[in-house]
């Protein structure tokens, strides 16, 4: 008996500790998927072992530390601006009496689909020292705008193309708040912003934590935008070094530093998320729509929403239209993109559904209901892939696929796995937020009515957490729509998507050819998001 006390509960056999033991039907799939998601990490370790000694010396140079410092500065800055932008945006589309809140939600979320290299390019084209804005202002005698390059540009660009991560998570969290919280939020208009800090922020902690981790990991993994905006970060340095040397070992070693960063961030998320569980304890389980009258504040609200949508979607549309008009005028012909559009939609929806149903539901459930390390690990494993640059994920799966699984190599299945590795973590956060609000008694009630834990998960928990499922699915959908390196390297040969079309055209300065796919990407993604969120009403 006393010996047994030292055996972890979940290792004990069937008999006495039923509740504490993790359900095998959930552990097996999530561990399986999580270990697949960890393949890139294994690859990095494998590659890094072959590193040449001089790389070690280079790694610990002052310039590396300087670049690391720059990455951190960008992470901090982007987080701050994303919070400032997303909190009011989410609040407005959930609680305010603005007309067309659903439409605003779709428009505000869609910029996530803009590939960062396009976003940065567009930003330069519009607001660069001699961009369109300067041309419009030229009659006023303005010869040059202040330089966008460096930290400010990188900050603006990455903020614009990552804030939807936090916005969507917050929105979903706010929508699942209890009536009492809604009432608390209602008073905001009257009793000042103190209420926000004391009431709303604490209950939004899980969503803020999850969103911030995504934003931070995105900053760490991106190199397209920062390279164009001439702000060297750790990842862009690794990428550029790798690109010119093709030295996989050195790049892998540096990438492991990035993985350590990712793990530190996960630790921070854990702290930020807090231990408190905010389950509903009362019977009131439905959401009654309460709205806050904005009064004169509505002009400020319009400005904020309109400004965000203009920066996120308006800029790319304007620049694309200019490309299109100029190109057509110069005799360029449009190429049909229907097949690329179909492929984009298909793989993105498939990735979204797979990420949510196959990965997020079991892992988020384990992490929320069994609050112990072993149960949380699968959910954490997914973040590693998101924190890595796509090219690293793609190459690691090339390595495993070609050498160890040739039967799936260059098929849509491995492509899908690639998307999972990169984006599965996106689906977990919103779902966990939602699950933390669901009364566990409800699941117990389901079990007592004769359903196993797993079937209760599908029949009770998942439908009730529907908002979280849809939000997670939307994040994966948008991210996959713009995904590039994994699609290029792992897709079936000849497989193209809107993102590969855009990339292929802009890479060689065929901007007119990039315009149509860019516009269609924005339009189709907005429609996709609208369709996903139309499932929200019960």
């Amino acid at each position: 008996m006393s010996k047994l006390l030292f055996v972890p509960m979940w290792l004990r056999p069937q008999s006495r500790s039923g509740q504490a033991r993790l359900p095998a039907g959930l552990v097996l799939p999530s561990v399986l998927v999580a270990s697949l998601l960890l393949l890139p990490l294994g690859y990095l370790v494998f590659r890094a072992t072959g590193v040449e000694p001089h790389v070690w010396r280079d790694l610990w140079s002052p310039s590396t530390l300087r670049i690391l410092g720059r990455s951190l500065l960008l992470v901090i800055g982007v987080n701050a601006s994303v919070w400032l932008l997303s909190l009011p945006l989410a609040w407005l589309v959930v609680f305010s009496d603005l007309p067309g809140r659903k439409l605003w939600t779709v428009l505000v979320a869609t910029p996530l689909v803009v590939p960062s290299y396009i976003g940065a390019y567009v930003l330069i084209a519009m607001y660069g020292p001699r961009g369109l804005l300067q041309q419009w202002l030229e009659p006023l005698g303005i010869e040059r705008l202040p330089s966008l390059y460096g930290y400010p540009g990188a900050l603006i660009a990455i903020t614009l193309f990552t804030y939807p991560y936090l916005f969507l998570g917050l929105r979903s969290a706010m929508m699942s708040l209890d009536q009492s919280w809604l009432d608390a939020a209602r008073t905001l208009g009257q009793s000042g912003w103190k209420t926000l800090g004391t009431l709303l922020l604490p209950v939004l902690r899980p969503a803020l934590a999850a969103g911030s981790v995504l934003v931070s990991l995105y900053v760490l993994s991106d190199f397209g935008a920062v390279a164009l905006l001439r702000y060297t970060t750790f990842t862009s340095a690794i990428y550029l070094y790798w690109q010119s040397s093709l030295d996989a070992s050195a790049a892998a070693l540096l990438m492991l530093v990035l993985v350590i960063f990712t793990m530190v961030l996960m630790g921070l998320e854990f702290v930020l998320r807090g231990r408190a569980r905010i389950a509903r304890t009362h019977a009131g389980t439905g959401r009654t729509v309460t709205t806050v009258r904005l009064g004169r504040w509505k002009y400020a609200a319009w400005l904020l929403l309109g400004g965000t949508v203009f920066m996120g979607m308006g800029n790319p549309i304007i620049v694309s239209l200019i490309w299109l008009v100029k190109g057509l005028a110069a005799g360029a012909t449009l190429q049909p993109v229907w097949q690329a559009m179909g492929n984009s939609l298909l793989v993105s929806l498939l990735a979204a559904v797979t990420a949510v149903l196959v990965f997020a539901v079991p892992t988020a459930y384990l992490a929320e209901r069994y609050r112990k390390l072993s149960a949380r690990l699968p959910a954490r494993a997914a973040y590693i892939g998101f924190g890595m640059p796509g090219i690293a994920v793609a190459l690691s799966l090339v390595f495993f696929g070609a050498r160890h699984a040739p039967w799936v190599y260059q098929t849509v299945y491995l492509l899908l796995l690639g998307y999972m590795v990169r984006y599965a973590s996106l689906a977990v956060g919103p779902l966990r937020t939602q699950l933390s609000r669901i009364n566990p008694r409800m699941e117990e009630a389901g079990r007592l009515l004769g359903f196993s834990e797993i079937r209760v998960l599908w029949r009770v928990t998942a439908p009730v957490a529907r908002g979280g499922l849809l939000t997670g699915g939307a994040l994966v959908f948008l991210s996959t729509m713009k995904e590039l390196p994994v699609t290029l390297l792992l897709g079936p040969t000849g497989f193209n998507t809107l993102a590969t079309r855009i990339w292929s055209a802009t890479e060689e300065a065929f901007y007119a050819r990039a315009a149509a796919p860019t516009l269609i990407l924005l339009l189709v993604s907005a429609l996709g998001i609208a369709a996903i969120f139309s499932g929200e009403e019960l």
Binding site: Q14, S15, R16, S17, G18, Q19, R280, T281, H282, A283, G284, T285, G286, R287, T288, N439, R441, M442, E444, A445, G446, R447, L448, L449, G450, F451, S452, E453, V456, R459, V460, P463, V464, R466, L538
Partner: protein, 365 residues
């Protein structure tokens, strides 16, 4: 009792002999957080009865209920329902296979389903019977007109009845109610208790009700078990627990208590300041006699033979009144009287104990 439970044969269906009741709990132990501990040596519920588990919050009554439901298995000991071993050495029947229904404190209705959907959830949705069974349950619980509502659109009482109908629909062996009235307005509770009592009687299901409210326990159940500090103190009818509590703690938890010091001489009579009192048990030496306020008859001083006292305070409730009286010997007592005769503080009254009283050994020190 039957010694170390692990000596027993493992989970054989025939092994019902040690289990006397419809629900039998034997030697169950569970400690959580290392602090609170539940230990139940032997506890049985008879088929068809409503058993209340009464105790202060944190005493382990909800844990006991969850153990029976299979939601939180015991660390040792056995639980059997209807002759089937559910927990025992090497045996753990998961919650979903126990055929035990439960109504949670917060009802835990499924918000995405209608009232009817909630009730049909536990029924085989493909069977033709399921619809008619759900209809019957809604009729029984007077929910027919609300069949298409969602839980968010129901009042507290309607939610409670939905939860009750949902857990009764699959025809469970045993129904567990966890503080079912605690989230309702006090004014509603009395009606709802009666309503629930009616439904339970109509179905005849064996029921365990967990509550910290003694009125609820006394009025709803056939028998009740008082749990203090994780242990069952006493099991019996409401009348038994009220008039013959096994110890002082039980007495104090249910109703008001007067404890009078006295001296016992081994007979069924004890000497006290109220004279020679008939007691339920023969003891010797210094004792405490427990008198309920109802068994102290107070009247205007007319009877020379009785003990005289002075009224300190009157709490008037309408249906009755409670007097705080001061005996000449120095003790203060509570006495309950009908509401008709008026009493005033300072008034002198005569006091007469009526009945046969429980008696406990006097506390030392």
């Amino acid at each position: 009792m039957s010694g170390d439970p692990s000596d027993r044969a493992v989970g054989s269906g025939a092994d019902v002999s040690p289990f006397a009741g419809f629900l039998s709990i034997r030697q169950v132990r569970k400690g959580f957080d290392g602090s609170s501990l539940v230990r139940i040596g032997e506890f049985d519920v008879v088929e068809g009865e409503v058993m209340a588990l009464l105790g202060p919050s944190g005493c382990g009554k909800t844990t006991t209920l969850r153990m029976v439901a299979g939601l939180s298995p015991p660390e040792s000991g056995s639980i059997a329902v209807a002759g089937r071993l559910l927990d025992g050495p090497g045996v753990y029947v998961p919650a979903e296979q126990r055929n035990v229904g439960m109504v949670f404190q917060d009802y835990a209705l499924f918000p995405h389903l209608t009232v009817e959907g909630n009730i049909r959830f536990g029924l085989d949705s493909r069977s033709a019977n399921s619809a008619s069974r759900a209809r019957d349950m809604m009729e029984l619980t007077r929910l027919t007109h609300l069949a298409d509502r969602r839980p968010a659109e129901l009042s507290g009482g309607e939610q409670q009845r939905t939860a009750l109908a949902r857990s009764l629909a699959p025809n469970p062996h045993l129904l567990l109610l966890d503080e079912p009235f605690s989230s309702l307005d006090a004014s509603l509770r009395k009606d709802l208790r009666r309503e629930v009592r009616r439904i339970l009687q109509a179905t005849g299901v064996t029921t365990i009700l967990v509550t910290h409210d003694q009125d609820e326990a006394l009025s709803m159940c056939d028998r009740l078990a008082l749990i203090l500090d994780g242990e069952v103190q006493q099991v019996g009818t409401p009348r038994e627990l009220y008039w013959s509590p096994r110890n002082e703690n039980v007495a104090r938890f249910i109703g008001d208590v007067n404890l009078l010091p006295g001296t016992a001489d081994g007979s069924l009579v004890v000497d006290s300041v109220l004279g020679r009192l008939p007691v339920q048990k023969a003891r010797t030496g210094p004792v405490q006699v427990m008198l309920r306020p109802e068994s102290i008859q107070v009247s205007y001083p007319e009877d020379q033979a009785s003990v005289m006292a002075r009224v300190l305070d009157v709490e008037y409730y309408g249906h009755d009144q409670v007097l705080n009286i001061h005996l000449q010997s120095g003790e203060e007592l509570l006495a309950r009287r009908d509401a008709i005769q008026p009493f005033l503080p300072g008034q002198t009254v005569s006091v007469r104990p009526v009945g046969v009283f429980p008696v406990y050994e006097a506390n030392r020190g």
